[in-house]
């Protein structure tokens, strides 16, 4: 997992091609650690992820639950297949905001990331 800060926003980039039961737990526990450390603004760069299943979705949902409404998780650079998974589960409707690039996601945070 690559991590970098832009302003107050933590950008997380899973580097494996798959986000499934083998590694989604790592993302879930990393969210908990980062939120406990005081982070509240996240962009998840999914550009490397070619395959995701419901355990990957659950890790992202768990991040939202950990934040408990006090913070944001935006998603960026989804592959066509992963984007369709969000459509199938309707998590692109009022749950996650999805952007074409990390830069667009940071811009949408309204300057909070810079």
């Amino acid at each position: 997992m690559e991590e970098r800060m832009v302003g107050k926003t933590m950008i997380l980039r899973p580097v494996e091609e798959r986000l499934d039961a083998a590694n989604s737990g790592l993302l879930k526990s990393r969210f908990v650690d980062l939120v406990n450390d005081g982070h509240r603004s996240f962009v998840i760069d999914l550009s490397a992820v070619d395959f995701m299943d419901s355990t990957g979705l659950a890790a992202l949902m768990s991040g939202l639950k950990t934040l408990g409404g006090d913070g944001e998780i935006l998603l960026a650079s989804l592959s066509v297949k992963v984007r369709k998974l969000f459509a199938l589960t309707r998590l692109d409707q009022g749950v996650f905001r999805i952007f074409a690039s990390t830069e667009e996601a940071l811009a949408a945070l309204g300057g909070k990331g810079s």
Binding site: L57, L64, L88, T89
Partner: protein, 141 residues
């Protein structure tokens, strides 16, 4: 109908290997990229359900996969010897209501399987729980 069988340990990395094997087999049938993803997704969900729910996360159990291909259909059977799936869970699998969606972090696997495959049946065969998932295709390559 040609069949290939796999037997894997009930571990997440083995489920991943099995999915990659399925991805290879899918090269032999006429499905578009979305449909291939759907089959791989269904296998990942079904095997993960066996691992997590039928076996309660015990990593030393066995999950079976059988892929059968004929000129019109691809059938994947994922089986285990753990706790049986409640047939109602498969029949009633749906997304959480909009109001509770942010609170509900799991439980989308069966919904996805039903959504992306053409036919899904849960059966008990010779002491094994078998989830039989069918995808129609446009022919063999």
């Amino acid at each position: 109908m040609h069949s290939i069988s796999l037997s894997i340990p009930s571990r997440a990395e083995a489920v991943r290997w099995a999915c990659l094997a399925i991805r290879g087999l899918l090269q032999g049938v006429q499905l578009n990229d979305d449909e291939k993803y759907h089959v791989e997704l269904a296998v990942s969900e079904a095997a993960t359900n066996s691992m997590r729910h039928a076996y309660d996360g015990d990593p030393d159990q066995e999950i079976g996969l059988q892929v059968s291909i004929d000129p019109e259909r691809l059938i994947v059977e994922v089986s285990d010897t753990g706790r049986s799936l409640d047939p109602c869970l498969l029949k009633c699998a749906c997304l959480p209501p909009e109001a509770g969606v942010r609170e509900d972090t799991g439980g989308r696997g069966l919904y996805l399987i039903r959504e992306v495959m053409d036919d899904v049946r849960a059966e008990r065969v010779d002491g094994r729980n078998v989830l039989r998932m069918t995808k129609n295709h446009k022919g063999l390559k």
